[in-house]
């Protein structure tokens, strides 16, 4: 065991820090989950790409810098510590890209990944449907074979699609074999949102941003080249993606250690409100972020040793989502009456409340932990 960073990793950290300091927006951007904010964020993400920092862990041929898992964690730490803007391209980069690396063809990777890294193709996630949220196996959107055209015709309704009204493309699951029940007979498709038959309608989220969308598909043609993995194997392909979503890639610990540092700063700025009880809450929230950081280091070591996280990603998801609420809730108490004012902590608090819901509710995650990690019997 050796918890000291390698010199090469420290060099990488210094390089990332210097670049971020020099290039990050000087003022906070408007929320990326609004139309105007989204445009401002894209400008930043293209700067990030031009500097070679938009997808550090990817191979160079797709726009990355072949960074190791350690370096990727370091980059995320520095990114969050610098207060750089939230990534509005994250669903593509962190969810679709790992799927393409694992299941895509060379043609698909060459066509999609560089455009995604450069924030030219903007991807949203098409999992949820009005009748199927965390229960993905209940999906009813369907794809019907069109042999003559060499592809599929998609019909259905996807919803709660984050930034769907601003993105250019959607990835999601559709039922290709209506005879098969539940998780069988699903296929993973890529859909351009400007294709004939697609209608996108934005609507407001709990936190007030416009960031959600309904995506209606009415006989939308998609060629065979936009099927990821085998027809009928969509569930297995998607599960590889959701593991990534729940685990490290969506929420690396740097984001929470940075938020914890800001919380400690806030407590220092508000001694008038720092009771013993609130001080304890601050310490415990900081500790939760620290614990997640160390848990991640152990997890990454196991991954580099050839042991993929699998269902253990559900542990991450439960922890970071509840930690995020604790960090923000504590900040609101420190702010006192100012917590009502629509500002960073208040907005962050509202967003944190979605954490235990998206990426598979925490109830689903606890079920996965119980059955797959503890081996408890299924109902």
């Amino acid at each position: 065991m050796d918890l000291r960073p390698d010199p090469a990793d420290e060099q990488f950290r210094a390089e990332a820090r210097d670049w971020l300091r020099a290039h990050r927006p000087s003022r906070p951007l408007p929320s990326g989950d609004t139309r105007a904010g989204f445009a401002a964020h894209l400008e930043w993400e293209r700067t990030l790409h031009d500097g070679g920092w938009s997808v550090v862990s990817w191979p160079r041929r797709y726009g990355g810098r072949d960074a190791s898992l350690w370096q990727w964690l370091i980059f995320e730490e520095e990114y969050a510590a610098a207060g750089a803007p939230q990534r509005v391209t994250q669903n593509g980069i962190f969810l679709l890209a790992p799927t393409l690396f694992e299941f895509g063809t060379d043609e698909q990777r060459d066509r999609i990944l560089p455009a995604m890294a450069a924030a030219r193709q903007l991807w949203c996630q098409g999992w949820s449907e009005p009748g199927a949220g965390s229960d993905l196996a209940a999906l009813t959107s369907r794809a019907v074979r069109d042999d003559a055209a060499g592809g599929w015709r998609l019909t259905g309704h996807k919803t709660w699609t984050t930034r769907g009204a601003f993105c250019t493309h959607l990835f999601g699951l559709f039922r290709t074999d209506p005879q098969q029940q539940r998780h069988r007979g699903l296929t993973y498709f890529l859909v351009p949102l400007d294709a004939p038959g697609v209608t996108v309608r934005g609507f407001g989220r709990f936190d007030g941003d416009e960031g959600f969308a309904d995506v209606y598909l009415d006989d939308v043609f998609v060629p065979d080249a936009d099927v990821i993995g085998e027809v009928g194997a969509g569930w297995r392909v998607a599960m590889a993606t959701t593991g990534s979503e729940r685990g490290l890639t969506l929420r690396p610990p740097g984001r929470f250690t940075a938020a914890a540092a800001r919380l400690v700063q806030l407590a220092g700025d508000r001694p008038d409100r720092l009771t013993g009880r609130l001080r304890e809450q601050v310490v415990r929230a900081w500790l939760g972020a620290r614990a997640y950081h160390l848990f991640t280091l152990a997890q990454v070591t196991r991954m580099l040793d050839g042991d993929p996280p699998g269902a253990a990603a559900s542990l991450n998801k439960i922890h970071w989502s509840e930690l995020d609420i604790a960090l923000h809730r504590t900040a609101l108490e420190l702010l006192g009456p100012d917590a009502e004012v629509d500002a960073e902590w208040t907005r962050g608090f509202q967003f944190s409340l979605a954490g235990p819901i998206y990426a598979g509710t925490n109830e689903i995650q606890r079920g996965i932990v119980a059955e797959r990690l503890l081996g408890l019997p299924r109902r």
Binding site: M1, D9, L274, T275, A291, L297, A298, I318
Partner: protein, 348 residues
């Protein structure tokens, strides 16, 4: 950066695991309760000494294994898992390295190395867990020393405890320890602070092990126990409690290991890391104890069933530790928080 045990560390852990599985089943833990037969405990102590665990952190020049705090965490986690009713952690993690650092003025180190001497450590309130079963008592006297005494050199009385296998003594002298009793260990304050942190680390490691034992017991139970026509473990309310218990333990274990690494490498972050590891381990173990008892139902609330052996040890170790407030306060200061100044319940 590599956050995993070395092969040597894993080997020691596995050896201690195997030994304790064979020599410290629940029946032996029960032998530690009042009226039990001491013979299996003596055999267990000898076996642990032969393996080198008791002198693991004593330098090789003094006959020990010369290992670090990191090396001790896995076997002490195993000792927690087995709820060994002997002062293993106290002897191996606290007394051994302290005695060696103090130059062994009383010449007791060889006996410790050979397993002929068990050392119990006095805690808050002069309570000495395993004192009834120890050859020597270690009394820390901050800021600048400690004293090693035979139980008959000081006034003590046996006291019953919630965990009957703790076999505690209470120091009753006034002052608690006579000025001339036993051997004085002159050690600088920073070494006493390190010793206190080693005790906390040892407590943390045992708490993680105890938590895992209770979780294993409970998973096995709810997998077979049927109610309402289904295994209890298939009910969501039960599954979610045990998932949370696992989450707490999985988060605590790396934090305890990282704290031991800070201690072993002399890092400035040691006090904060040790407190962080303890807070996570104590919280996880206590929550697991509650979940385990609840998920067992009345079966778990008996002394015939084994759960109480492990749950009571958790509460005993937490009671003997320096306390949640101490660790919260120390960690808060380390991360740069000011002291609490606002009045409780006050509004600006």
């Amino acid at each position: 950066m590599w956050f995993a045990l070395t092969d040597e560390q894993a080997t020691l852990r596995d050896a201690v695991d195997d030994l304790l599985t064979a020599e410290c089943p629940p029946a032996v833990v029960r032998a530690g309760w009042p009226g039990g037969d001491p013979a299996p405990l003596d055999r267990l102590w000898t076996a642990l000494a032969e393996m080198g665990l008791l002198a693991a952190a004593v330098p090789e020049s003094a006959g020990g294994l010369g290992l670090t705090e990191v090396d001790l965490v896995p076997p002490l986690t195993a000792a927690g898992y087995a709820a060994v009713p002997l002062p293993v952690a106290e002897t191996a993690a606290v007394a051994g390295p302290l005695l060696a650092a103090a130059g062994d003025p009383g010449g007791q180190l060889a006996a410790l190395v050979e397993g002929r001497c068990r050392i119990a450590v006095a805690g808050p309130g002069g309570l000495v867990p395993y004192g009834q079963r120890a050859d020597l008592l270690l009394i820390l006297t901050p800021p600048d020393g400690a004293r090693l005494v035979r139980p008959d050199e000081v006034a003590t009385t046996p006291v019953p405890t919630m965990d009957g296998s703790r076999a505690a003594l209470r120091l009753t002298g006034d002052p608690v320890i006579g000025p001339s009793a036993g051997t004085r260990l002159d050690v600088p304050a920073h070494l006493l602070a390190l010793t206190a942190d080693r005790a906390t680390l040892a407590a943390s490691a045992q708490l993680v092990g105890l938590g895992r034992r209770m979780l294993d017991l409970t998973v096995a139970h709810v997998g077979t126990r049927r109610q309402f026509g289904a295994p209890v473990g298939s009910f969501q309310a039960v599954q979610h409690q045990l998932a949370d218990a696992l989450l707490g333990l999985e988060l605590a274990a790396p934090a305890v290991l990282a704290a031991s690494w800070a201690a072993a490498t002399g890092a400035d972050s040691r006090p904060a890391d040790v407190s962080a590891g303890y807070l996570l381990a104590a919280d996880a173990a206590e929550r697991t104890a509650r979940a385990a008892l609840q998920c067992h139902g009345a079966i778990g609330y008996t002394t015939e069933y084994d759960l109480h052996l492990y749950a009571k040890r958790v509460w005993a170790i937490v009671a003997a530790a320096a306390g949640t407030d101490h660790h919260l306060d120390r960690l808060g200061t380390a991360i740069g928080l000011p002291a609490a100044t606002a009045e409780q319940g006050g509004r600006p």
